[in-house]
């Protein structure tokens, strides 16, 4: 097979090449035909970043063995429009702001192109169904739908082509819906993310990861892997020349596990080889002897005396406790007419940016160790890496490649160290691209939380005191836990002017997948509890949910829970606007859904029952009869 020639027509050009270790059509197009518009988001057909046309039908190229496409006519996102041009649909994506990080966008453009090719008059329901195989994590899909409908109408002549034009300068460029400058590169598939980049003589890295949640590393034997033909180097913690350790707040995580592993998926060694396939095979040849240790998997258990200790420096397993005290909580509860207690919990959540982690490192002609990666914090990563590799800071360089979604998940320097060490050891450029599974397994999540809530209120809805305690599983390493606990604590009780509060948040080490930075940094977990709790209280007091919030909201001059005096406060205006905007029918939250009259307005969508395309056929037939 390696030598068998495959013949395809790709974007109108004849391609005759052997498979050369690129077993899936996606890999072949990217690595052999050098078209990187189709991307790998999941490798399992679940996300659509890899969609391409094969003989006129849109398919997920990560599911297609390369040889299946032998003789086929293939069209990728790069082939939709002439060089330097955009199709009407691509222009519509540009116009409506349908791309954000852009990583799903080539696939999304392909799915939308297919939808309009299959049915140029597809209605919104059908469009949504036809885009149903493509996940977008940034946009909330709304602007994408808008783009597809706009393109459809322009293509059908229902709207003039000028509908795709930019809005113009107006009076000012501030407050102006200037089209995204990066959109053309995203909708056309031209933008290169780290995983799309190649360098001459580049090595491919694969990482050996811990199969155990907690174990002592007795020995690591890399000799067999190193002996495999095509393997250039294997690195372990022994290759770290400087002070090993990184983290957003505490530097408690080594580049690769040192004496023990603390979670499943932690990096233990990294192989770099001439091909991705060889590197992968070499992983199986590394022998690591582990002595399994008992693990701790529940933060409350980890807080008990005598619990398994995850890090020696933190014998109580507490990463961070943030206390906030204001007023006199005892007195506040004593003054209350009712006291309401409840508990709340939230789950661990994966960032699921469509771009899995990827990076490229090299040592340049001046000996500067350079890492190109979608890092959300190149400034801090440079600092940490310079200590780890023991080089002056101006001999370390981080370049931030376009980030295919971050949401906080790319703030941790979990792989850049391995790339730098390998580049230094081999003198060759090296690239690492995570699989989706690897990304899910090894990177930080949103902190799960358990909240105990106690609130005292007067009969008129005024809150007299709150006690709030949140315990969060920080997982095996500190990452952003400290900051997340701080922000959760500060923001926990919401935009309410409260005289007496007692807040405690705890981030705890366990042997679970680490938790880290994730859009809202703890605020979502904490305010989920507050906003649920307020509705419970409102029901008990017979108050409308807007009203109970209004009776307690902050005003100019209010002291926050951390006793900061506020200079500007917009919550009153926000509540008033929202109430009018959604046509809210006033009433206490007594599960009155069945009798509300503000439901089902034109600003809601229809309930989704699948099969929009047959309904259209039925409607058309009905029309024929009539």
């Amino acid at each position: 097979m390696p030598d068998t020639m495959l013949n395809m027509t790709v974007n109108g050009r004849k391609v005759a090449k052997p498979i050369n270790g690129q077993y899936r059509l996606l890999d072949f197009l990217r690595e052999e035909v050098h078209l990187t518009g189709a991307k790998e988001g999941c490798g399992a057909g679940e996300c659509g970043t890899c969609s391409v046309f094969v003989d006129g039908k849109l398919v997920k190229s990560c599911l297609m063995p390369t040889a299946k496409a032998d003789g086929a006519e293939i069209q990728t996102v790069e082939g939709l429009a002439g060089r330097g041009e955009l199709t009407a649909l691509q222009q519509a994506f540009h116009k409506t702001g349908a791309s954000q990080c852009g990583y799903c966008i080539p696939g999304m453009v392909m799915a939308a192109t297919s939808a309009l090719r299959e049915n140029p008059y597809a209605d919104i329901e059908e469009i949504k169904e036809r885009l149903g195989g493509n996940i977008c994590r940034c946009t909330g899909y709304t602007k994408i739908f808008e783009a597809v409908e706009l393109a459809r109408d322009v293509m059908n002549g229902r709207l003039p082509a000028t509908a795709l034009d930019p809005d113009g300068a107006g009076e000012s460029y501030i407050g102006n819906n200037v089209r995204r400058l990066d959109a053309p590169s995203k909708v056309s598939g031209a933008l290169k993310y780290a995983g799309d980049m190649v360098m001459q003589d580049m090595l491919h890295m694969q990482v050996l990861r811990s199969p155990h949640p907690h174990a002592r590393i007795v020995s690591i034997d890399t000799s067999a892997a190193e002996a495999l033909e095509g393997v250039e180097c294997v690195i372990t913690h022994k290759d770290v020349p400087g002070k090993d350790g990184f983290g957003v707040f505490v530097h408690d995580q080594p580049v690769m596990a040192r004496d023990k592993v603390r979670y499943v998926g932690e990096a233990v060694a990294a192989v770099s080889a001439e091909t991705h396939e060889i590197a992968r095979r070499a992983l199986a040849l590394i022998k690591v002897e582990y002595e399994e240790l008992p693990g701790v998997f529940d933060p409350e258990e980890a807080m008990q005396p005598g619990a398994v200790v995850v890090h020696d420096y933190a014998q109580d397993n507490v990463v961070k406790h943030i206390p906030i005290r204001k007023g006199d909580v005892e007195a506040g509860f004593a003054a209350a007419d009712i006291i309401v207690e409840n508990s709340y919990s939230t789950q661990q959540v994966e960032h699921a940016y469509l771009e899995p982690e990827a990076g490229l490192a090299y040592v340049d002609h001046d000996g500067v160790v350079t890492v190109v990666s979608p890092s959300q914090n190149i400034t801090h990563h440079r600092h940490m890496l310079s200590t780890i590799i023991d080089k002056p800071i101006n001999k370390v360089r981080f370049i931030m490649s376009p980030v295919g979604g971050g949401f906080g998940g790319k703030e941790d320097m979990i792989y850049q160290g391995m790339l730098a060490l390998t580049a230094m050891k081999t003198g060759r450029p090296v690239r690492l691209v995570f699989t989706r599974e690897e990304s899910i397994l090894s990177t930080a999540k949103r902190h799960p939380s358990r909240v105990t809530y106690k609130m005292g209120l007067k009969n008129d809805g005024r809150i007299t005191a709150v006690s709030f305690r949140m315990i969060s599983d920080g997982g095996a390493y500190g990452m952003s836990t400290e900051g997340v606990m701080r922000k959760a604590a500060i923001l926990s009780l919401g935009p309410y002017d409260l005289a007496n509060v007692e807040i405690d948040t705890y981030g705890i080490y366990t042997n679970n997948t680490p938790s880290g930075a994730f859009r809202t940094f703890g605020a979502m977990q904490a305010q989920f509890a507050t906003e649920s709790h307020l509705d419970i209280c409102a029901e008990k007091l017979g108050l409308d949910p807007f009203e109970i919030r209004r009776r307690n909201m902050m005003k100019i001059g209010s002291l926050t829970h951390t006793q900061q005096k506020l200079e500007t406060v917009s919550i009153a205006e926000v509540l008033e606007t929202a109430e009018a905007f959604c046509r809210w029918e006033t009433g206490a939250p007594t599960s009155r859904g069945a009798t509300r009259t503000d439901l089902g307005g034109p600003d809601t969508r229809a309930s989704c029952t699948l099969g929009a395309r047959f309904r259209q056929i039925v409607d058309d037939k009905k029309q024929e009869v009539a």
């Binding site: 490798g43 679940e46 398919v59 599911l63 297919s114 169904e129 699948l610 099969g611 047959f614």
Partner: protein, 305 residues
């Protein structure tokens, strides 16, 4: 990671059978490859290397379908998208468009074959319940002393456990033949965790034929998926309904019964509760597809009072 040494694309059945007769233990047959390729990943099968892959997608005999004598013969390479797009198939297999629209997405459906779906024999496979309801038979071919030999086996016997079928080494599915259900109303219910790219927690299919006046059940066919090791046909309920006057109350009564067929290892209570409602909804939707009026919420509530 999915890797292989040799990739074979037989052009006809005999060539395919010859290839699979010689297929080594670490070889693999694929059709659409939508089960096989993503299986070779971490958390599932891990890295899988196949010495030889036999890709059936170009086998001439496996293309298309034939309709004759009240039967629909679906050759092995019919894909789920065909059930949505082909007018003939929609008329003869009226539950299949609803099954297909819930299946994966437009792109996977272009590749995913019905034969691969039943050969994979997942308890959650969406193709199997409709086939049970349509009395499908699986046509299997093998080479015996260089001759192509066929055998036929009913779908309920063919799939007999999670991932288990009666297919033996050296055999291929050539076709699945079901009864034409032209004139029936068909429906398919499915629930998972979202509305696209969703694996069934429970699925239910119904095919209903009413008397000419629309008042009695002439025939009813029902099956469930996702509720145990294999999908099941609900012949007892079908018998309860056949020949009876169509009333909401009767449907409601009949729908309560199949909950005890739930034999999953997880989410048992959830599935039981859903099954009760799904059988009823499936019958109602199938009746609507026959031209019966949609029951109102009030009628449904009255039936349960």
């Amino acid at each position: 990671m999915f890797t292989f040494d040799h990739y074979l694309c037989p052009k006809d059945l005999r060539e395919a059978l010859e290839m699979i007769e010689r297929l080594p233990e670490d070889g693999k047959i694929i059709a659409g490859a939508t089960d096989v390729v993503p299986y070779a990943r971490e958390g599932r099968g891990g890295d899988i290397h196949f010495s030889t892959i036999v890709d059936l997608s170009r086998v001439d005999e496996f293309r298309g379908y034939e309709i004759a004598k009240g039967k629909v013969r679906l050759n092995a390479n019919v894909v789920f998208q065909d059930f949505l797009e082909d007018d003939e198939l929609r008329a003869h297999l009226p539950c299949m468009p609803y099954c297909a629209i819930w299946f994966a997405d437009d792109q996977v459906r272009e590749q995913a074959t019905l034969a691969g779906n039943i050969a994979n024999a997942s308890p959650a496979a969406d193709g199997t319940p409709p086939l049970l309801a349509m009395d499908a038979e699986v046509e299997i071919a093998r080479l015996v002393d260089g001759e192509v030999r066929y055998r036929t086996i009913s779908i309920d016997a063919f799939v007999h456990g999670p991932g288990k079928t009666r297919l033996e080494k050296g055999e291929l599915i050539c076709a699945v033949t079901c009864r034409s259900m032209k004139g029936y109303g068909g429906s398919f219910q499915k629930v998972g965790q979202r509305r696209s790219l969703v694996i069934s927690k429970v699925s239910a299919v119904a095919l209903v034929k009413t008397s000419a006046d629309g008042r009695t059940f002439e025939d009813v066919r029902l099956a469930l998926g996702g509720i145990g090791p294999v999908p099941v046909r609900l012949t007892d309920i079908e018998d309860m309904l056949k020949g009876q006057a169509i009333t909401r109350r009767l449907i409601a009564e009949a729908s309560v019964i199949p909950a005890d067929r739930v034999a999953s290892r997880s989410r048992v209570e959830y599935r039981k509760r859903v099954v009760r409602g799904f059988v009823e909804a499936a019958i109602e939707d199938a009746l609507v597809a026959c031209g019966a009026p949609m029951p109102t919420e009030e009628q449904r509530e009255a039936a349960h009072a």
